[in-house]
Symmetry: D2
Subunit: 402 residues, 4 copies
Amino acid sequence: MVSKMIPGFNGLAVPGPTNMPFAIRQAMEVALEDHRAPDFPEFTLPLLADVKRIFRITTGQVFVFPASGTGGWESAVANTLSPGDQVLAAVFGQFSHLWVDLCRRFGLDVDAIELPWGEGTPLELYEQRLRADKTHQIKAVLVCHNETATGVTSEVGGVRKALDAAGHPALLMVDGVSSIGCIEFNMEAWGVDVAVCGSQKGFMMPTGLAIVAVSQKALQARATARLPRCFFDFNDMILANKDGYFPYTPATTLLRGLRASVDLLESEGLEQVFARHHRLATGVRHAVEAWGLRLCAKHPKWHSDTVSAVLVPDGLNANEVIKTAYHRYNLSLGSGLSKVAGKVFRIGHLGYLNELMVLASLGGAEMAMIDCGIPIEAGSGVGAAVKHFSRTAKQFAPVKAA
Amino acid sequence: MVSKMIPGFNGLAVPGPTNMPFAIRQAMEVALEDHRAPDFPEFTLPLLADVKRIFRITTGQVFVFPASGTGGWESAVANTLSPGDQVLAAVFGQFSHLWVDLCRRFGLDVDAIELPWGEGTPLELYEQRLRADKTHQIKAVLVCHNETATGVTSEVGGVRKALDAAGHPALLMVDGVSSIGCIEFNMEAWGVDVAVCGSQKGFMMPTGLAIVAVSQKALQARATARLPRCFFDFNDMILANKDGYFPYTPATTLLRGLRASVDLLESEGLEQVFARHHRLATGVRHAVEAWGLRLCAKHPKWHSDTVSAVLVPDGLNANEVIKTAYHRYNLSLGSGLSKVAGKVFRIGHLGYLNELMVLASLGGAEMAMIDCGIPIEAGSGVGAAVKHFSRTAKQFAPVKAA
Amino acid sequence: MVSKMIPGFNGLAVPGPTNMPFAIRQAMEVALEDHRAPDFPEFTLPLLADVKRIFRITTGQVFVFPASGTGGWESAVANTLSPGDQVLAAVFGQFSHLWVDLCRRFGLDVDAIELPWGEGTPLELYEQRLRADKTHQIKAVLVCHNETATGVTSEVGGVRKALDAAGHPALLMVDGVSSIGCIEFNMEAWGVDVAVCGSQKGFMMPTGLAIVAVSQKALQARATARLPRCFFDFNDMILANKDGYFPYTPATTLLRGLRASVDLLESEGLEQVFARHHRLATGVRHAVEAWGLRLCAKHPKWHSDTVSAVLVPDGLNANEVIKTAYHRYNLSLGSGLSKVAGKVFRIGHLGYLNELMVLASLGGAEMAMIDCGIPIEAGSGVGAAVKHFSRTAKQFAPVKAA
Amino acid sequence: MVSKMIPGFNGLAVPGPTNMPFAIRQAMEVALEDHRAPDFPEFTLPLLADVKRIFRITTGQVFVFPASGTGGWESAVANTLSPGDQVLAAVFGQFSHLWVDLCRRFGLDVDAIELPWGEGTPLELYEQRLRADKTHQIKAVLVCHNETATGVTSEVGGVRKALDAAGHPALLMVDGVSSIGCIEFNMEAWGVDVAVCGSQKGFMMPTGLAIVAVSQKALQARATARLPRCFFDFNDMILANKDGYFPYTPATTLLRGLRASVDLLESEGLEQVFARHHRLATGVRHAVEAWGLRLCAKHPKWHSDTVSAVLVPDGLNANEVIKTAYHRYNLSLGSGLSKVAGKVFRIGHLGYLNELMVLASLGGAEMAMIDCGIPIEAGSGVGAAVKHFSRTAKQFAPVKAA
């Protein structure tokens, strides 16, 4: 919430919504408009085509629903699966848990591998399960690319390899809500069939759009999918989008923002966007190390470049840090969800972000931790990040650097 | 679409999205915010309570989904019904048709009474059907309060009377997308069980919120309702809303706008809002009469105070009028949908609107009709509206009038 | 003022401030910025160069002060004249009067020809005075290009001819506040030495910039000009602008808007902008004629394409019309100033404007006049304009017209 | 400039323009409006009255010009003095220099005491000069309350004491551009006659308003003041403001922002605003000390709570730090002006600011200094500020702190 109580800007360091660029704000500064106007397609057709590049696909289709990531999850399964279908998944955090929960509500038969929170997608177990499924009862494999609750990034390409190794035809569905537009996501190369994203993370926009990319193979699955669907029906979208329109009133203001978002991402360059996220995240991890604290992610291979879940020392309540940061310093840190509630605070480092914004979050976290009695040295974390950013600045500096 | 081609503001005279007040624009001019902030409930709890007054309910609950009206329809049935349930409905326009279509996709058994477009909900037929259903197989009765495609307003209270007369316990579900916040809607008095609205009509906001009010009786129906649901699940909303939070990331920017919208509606006063819509709509109808044209609505009792569908003379294509108005005069009129395509153009007169804005739309329609060879007298329609507005101005004039 | 009392947009039909395009609003939707940033000149240097094209000069310089048109007048005389210098001017409205008043306060010796309000610059009298001034005591000739108070446009080119005919070297200074960017203004061809404009008229921006174009000849006059100056000093501007900076903090937000304004004007094309203003103004004049009323401008050659001052019948108070329009219909008409107070109401028709916006103003004026007992026929004025706009639409219609 | 090159928000750490609160942005998100509207005074009269409280006066008058602080300086002298009048001033930085320069251009006889940059107003020398002026030839005494170029705050109350001690009737004129609304300014208690401010510092707004408070005594000086004036004439303002209007088109958009600005300052409370500035400034000074660097201000009594000018070690060019900060880290630091160019970089810490924003600026300065080879320890300055802020947080924490 935009605190009315403390002057100065809120330090928004949750893992989404992220900070919104002025270019996106400007783009949404329009009058409301007629979504059936004769020239509306001149705006929408290129937009829908261009969004595909953010997912790195040249085939298939991107759907933009006026919804959130959860709606994107729902669209993924409702358009491709039927009641009773088997689904392979793993649960190692709140969001991987919630997608599984959604599947079960829709009557799917989910084989959900439960893992300690802080681990990532178990590639070997996946491969075992897929090899064992000789009759191809598994219709879909779910992967939470970036578990926002624990700061764990899984290897999507590894799941593709497991599928291929097992010669298994299941659809590969990926929750990329907090990864797409931030860290490498190569939908076509990885053979992903459905990738789900929301507008309020890497796209740096307000919440309100579910952005879902779908492969040709997944599109064909509609023919046999018997789960009910209407609001999230790909069919209706395909028919209307073809001419640049939508089956029901689209959120045109947000579509204007999406145009600016795609342009921003492409003007920076996706590779540069990914490199920037990695460099900023590395600075955060140096800070955590300098504080003498540990991350929830149990192994460096799972370190997320978009969010770090920091474990507070035993006996201390992370929520106190979060509340202190918020009420005293106008800093919004992410709280621990479900199993890790009270154990971690999360620093979001994704979206429209630079070194200064990261240093502000780290400095704010330091003040809050000191206030709560966590024995860290003032300036240690920020200093570690300052060192890292300075040391790596030259190769990342813009053309004009002095 | 906001035309880039013609200077000056677009005349937005479609029946939604409507014109957006600056107060709403201002309210949405915020930074993105943390929807899990400790003080977020201080904003959301009063908001969710206050929205109930717009529906005129004191019990039950209002749900705000990041979606559109179509999503609201889906939430209505998915949370209360089970596959195979019987539903009574009538089809007399594109939107009454689409809700029925949605029900059928969700496996409901819809008795949809087909009527000529331009008529409204058939109260007597409804009562007959309900009386005949001795075993109460009909679980829900659908009413399209204001058929946006034809400019027809039905009598919701009459359906309640029919239900009561038949002693029938079916849920009464109303599509109030283009009526709520514009014309009288008295949910509690009329015993409506689910009322569906969107943000882009009477709420004068961007598209992106489905606003759904639900009675206690309909909430209890969740217990037995077996249609699958997750994104639109009332349960999850109830649990999270109780504490002022949401089950997934809410569209906070739009919620800020909703706060302003409710405040605007209440500061004008709902009765005044309704009276204003009636007076402006009457001016439009005087104009249509002065032009020598007819409305699609077949009887004055069905005249809609939010949208007028104007029939063009036989042999002429209404789409030519719409295209001319748009490309030549920057005026967005609503087109005829489906069965009435080419036969009508629609003038939306709802939301944030006053006499001047109506006169601009009428004047623009006159120019476009003249250009297309429709034999109307220049100034006749505008003049009729000017007369009506002047004649009725005193009792509607604000306190400060000279 | 943005009325809080009447729903719907205010009809802004005063002769400035004008309606603001969204493109300008978007451009000003930026964070505050450092006006000494290393790359600030990359923004300002092209901007200052491009503004010259709006004045139609290729030499000389444009200065942009954080001020209003009055400040522009002051800069014109303070940088070029000395106490006691003779100035030739004519007074035929409130704004031509005020510039003369300013000159006198600065100790200039103004020969101000007083004329009936409704007339324009007296070309023959000017030429007589200039021919009579054999010793060239007259240092500057002032012209109010468009007298906003009376809706009178004078012939600036005619004054140039008078100067040339007399072989007189006086500086030609023009108040183009309500003309530049709206009606033909050809500074170089007309040999204008100082042209003064503000941001809130043809530039379609908020008030806050005085935009002043100065010829080489006028720039050289600085050397001998002894009037004191600092805030409005051209010298300081020249020195700082050369490198893209300003002598004191510039209004950067408005400069961002100015960039968008120049781009908008040039993307429409100045000739098209002028033609649009002429066509819309002609529609207004047809309406006035249809109402049976007269303009303040005493001869068609003086008809202004940016503002029409409409005389109300004797015995009626134009202010009643204005107040009724404002309080009852949310329409802002311009009031009569000074000598014509109560006798005229003014309809501004300049800036970001199209047919629909003009029709709304005319319709609003009709309602207010009828309410005040002025015997006009409802729809007559609007109808006359509708006819004119329809008849002339084709050649003005955009490429895409049906 | 809003850099297009580096993602993330610009760190605006110049001493004005300052960061703009969303509440001010929202307030300016209006349509352009008629400044002669019948109800415009309902907005302006309370506003003009309320601004007086920010200056802490109950008598006299506040004038709001569409201009900048330089225009405010000009208004102060032009309305109260005559050519040849004696003025006492001191020069110890770029802005104290510029006001003296302006006075000289207006023909005033300025006794400008030249002091080393880094010192403040010389109270004893002032008293000597005033005592020596037995015939009261000195008509005005100028004080630069906060010299923005060097980060030096002078004691205005001390100048009042000097005047009183000398029994001298000269007007006391204060440049409060970078102090008012940030640090204690008690116009009435200090007997200040003219206080000049701009909108882009403590008022947290875009540049574009000169806000000038004038005592009764200074208002009376108009009667004898013979300097020419029109745009900045107090008389015209007094006459028009009396009824809530302005002598020429006011910058209404900025006036809307000013309303929000005054409300923000008063809702935080001026005393709290001053305490916040002091606490944040103290954190910055701790950082500078931890870096092993010195401030330009030569004595703690002159330390400014709104801007710190940091001296870089001999042989290094401060501009390199500034350019590196800007181009590499999107941080805008203030450059050294005139005599201290290349010797200092300035950190602005005024306006809408909190701990996090200060830490970001300090962290950015650290990175830039390290990159430029200034031997400071990474994290040392930020750490010192973190310690200070944490140590002093409780008494400054808002009511709701955990």
